[in-house]
Amino acid sequence: MQLDSKQPGGPLADKWDNHIFDLKLVNPANKRKFEIIVVGTGLAGGSASASLAELGYTVKTFCIQDSPRRAHSIAAQGGINAAKNYPNDGDSVWRLFYDTIKGGDYRSREANVYRLAQISNQIIDQCVAQGVPFAREYGGLLANRSFGGAQVSRTFYARGQTGQQLLLGAYGALSRQIAAGKVTLFTRQDMLDLVVVNGQVRGIITRNLISGRIEAHAADAVVLATGGYSNVYYLSTNAMTSNISAACSAYRKGAVFANPCFTQIHPTCIPVHGTYQSKLTLMSESLRNDGRVWVPKTPGDKRQPRQIPESERDYYLENRYPSFGNLVPRDVASRNAKVQCDADKGVGETGLAVYLDFEDAIKRDGKDVIAKKYGNLFQMYEKITADNPYEAPMMIYPAVHYTMGGLWVDYNLMSSLPGLFVLGEANFSDHGANRLGASALMQGLADGYFIIPYTIGGYLSGASIEKVSTDHQAFRDSVQAVEARIQKFLSIKGRRTVDDFHRELGTIMWEYCGMSRNDENLLKAKERIGELKGEFWENVLVSGSAGQFNQNLEKAGRVADFIEFGELMVTDAMARKESCGSHFSEAFQTEENEAKRDDENFCHVSVYEHGGDNKDPVCHKEPLVFENVELTQRSYK
């Protein structure tokens, strides 16, 4: 398989402009004749649907929830980056580009990341015009704060609800196009298959979640913006319906998958407290601006935090990384928390937590200032834990949060299947082996507002696309396959619930393919997932019937795909014999226990092609070429 990333030539700073000029345009009068399916209404899908419809395309938009406004993006808290340099602290497009490449541990494409940094500024302008209530200074100018992995203040925010406000902006734009008749909206729909006709992607198969009906939808191109797959781990900060199924269906149909093992573990989440737990809650990374992370110096010290004097506390991030301190990138912060807990310095009942302390910040700035910045986060923490962070330090622990891996796309955001585009967290494009905070919102909106509107035109004007309707045999075959799979779930009538399987998969993935990886554990994971898969297809218990609102059945499909995908993640983790960013392989570390890359052998994107049912995937490599930055050992000291 030839993987052509289609990165344009020329100087880095001119690539995107030149490319826009080179892309063929669709005649404005012809745009409405092209039908585009967008799956997903998060920041990526919502912004893409609206922008494509504004250009005149006929758009059909799908989501799982009852309203596009409820996509998982709504939960993003901390903020969105842009290279505006409003605070005059030395930021620039180049610096944002550089920080992102370095933060990703040199495993992303220069051209894509540079474009992202360029577009970041337009996103802020667009969102302000839409009425997004960003935080302001007294004079009325936009306010900024700092996030991990950067020494400049470039994060724009709307209290602790930045994702919500940006998504409501995109939802407003989408609603306007629905009212104008340019977008047809399909809510409570679950995409279960992708339809390929003559080598081109021409539609999707969905299940209407209310009636259970299986529906076929045809189009000239399909855009997937279906989010990330952190829920492979069962417990994660993602919403409950976040899934891999849409992407998996594309993978099975031939779209290749990049870097599946790159999953981000976020350092500041509320620790796990019981086996009944259904999800984990993130405490925004912005808290690390003012909160200080520490553990007791003495292992096993069970005193209350306020009884441990300053001299007996280890502010391990500040001590180890004096220049970035508490603001080191997420992978570094998470791994260090694990190291402390493994050394029996963890706090709380379970010993799997570290302190995030605001005492000094409150002394310095006053309670009011802290409350204004983080009030809603403190409140959320108190609701869940019944502890008051104004008085006692928060307890936090890392949790699975984001997936850098995703469907492989070229510079145009087109997958390896012609006519299938992938946006937002669902693609692999910009974050390499580790994403910096406040960069996912930026990427989702860059993809949807400012990239796909251009690149999809290049495809539609250049490809010869025949008329195809849902009567085509490929659609019928697909519908049949989807229905057969559903009948299979219902007919097994075993003794274990879907959640029970999901929980076990999560434990396997977290224990053996989580924050720290080694071959022995990965082999164990492989074996146990194989067994779990076997048992699932013989012993799962799905209640109800196919032709009804059936949340159990919905979940069964998702968990079946998570199990299959978990295998691919483990395969990828074993194949990458280096440590980079979030992928920490114990055999590859520096003397100071930092991730040690192997640029000679692993400076590539690992790209997997589905090998067929029950066959091993085929691994391809897209080499990464760095012409503008020098690869160095990441240091945040």
Partner: protein, 255 residues
């Protein structure tokens, strides 16, 4: 798992509204929820009941949820007659079982309103909210061509107040708890967000009129100042937003 500090285990009698679909009759069914940890969330308690029902070969309770952190607006039900349950400013997914006592009886019912059709059990159709937004709950700017973000100055106080209004999660608790099933708090919040910001001014009149007309067409009721919406709102959106909506609407109607 060891017990956390203050964690207790309680037993509850739970009565849940079960209804297969919009046209069949529904009824309350009684379940015993045993060994419920007080650290669980309300939805996790429902998960426990559902696992048991599934294993008994019965159909689990259908309920909407997604983020489970109080922001997506997907969850919601009447708990002992109160939208999202007894805790102020809390969505159902953020309500924890430590607010209940051993041997309590808990009655759970769906949102009831003319404008929200029942789908199944606790799940209702809130697409009427989307229709209200489609009528004008946005600022009409296309992608591209916007001025620099700092070209538009927004006084900090205006931004903060707009944010207070924009915090609405569209869950429908306001409608469900209003004796008239009015959507005035929902509409008031959106109209206020934009009325407070300079970007929203050009379309302010059109927006208020269009959204109110749509709300009426969708058969939401009138506001008679009962203030139940404000009390039920998990985001504590203030009814001053309704007053602002009324002012905007009057301005638009007269001039």
């Amino acid at each position: 798992m060891t017990q956390e500090k203050g964690e207790k285990s309680i037993n509850l009698t739970v009565k849940v509204w079960r209804q297969e679909g919009p046209v069949v009759k529904g009824r309350l069914e009684t379940y015993e929820a045993r060994n419920i940890s007080t650290n669980m969330s309300f939805l996790e308690m429902l998960d426990v009941i559902n696992e048991e029902l599934t294993l008994e070969g019965k159909e689990p309770i259908a309920f909407d949820h997604d983020c489970r952190e109080g922001i997506c607006g997907m969850c919601g039900a009447m708990v002992n007659g109160r939208a999202h349950g007894p805790e102020k400013g809390t969505t159902l997914c953020q309500l924890h079982m430590r607010h209940f006592s051993d041997r309590d009886t808990v009655v759970i019912e769906p949102w009831r309103s003319r404008a929200f059709k029942l789908v199944r059990d606790l799940v209702v159709d809130r697409s009427a909210f989307d229709k209200i937004i489609q009528a004008g709950g946005y600022i009409s700017v296309n992608t591209g061509g916007s001025p620099d973000g700092n070209a538009i100055l927004v006084p900090q106080e205006a931004a903060e107040k707009a944010m207070d209004a924009a915090a609405c999660i569209g869950c429908g608790a306001c409608v469900a708890s209003c004796p008239n099933a009015s959507a005035m708090l929902f509409v008031g919040a959106k109209v206020s967000q934009f009325a407070l910001l300079p970007q929203g001014k050009p379309e302010a009149e059109k927006r208020a009129l269009a959204m109110v007309r749509e709300m009426d067409d969708l058969r939401f009721g009138n506001c008679t100042n009962e203030r139940e919406c404000e009390a039920a709102c998990p985001k504590e959106i203030s009814i001053t937003n309704i007053a602002r909506l009324n002012r905007e609407f009057l301005k638009a109607s007269f001039f």
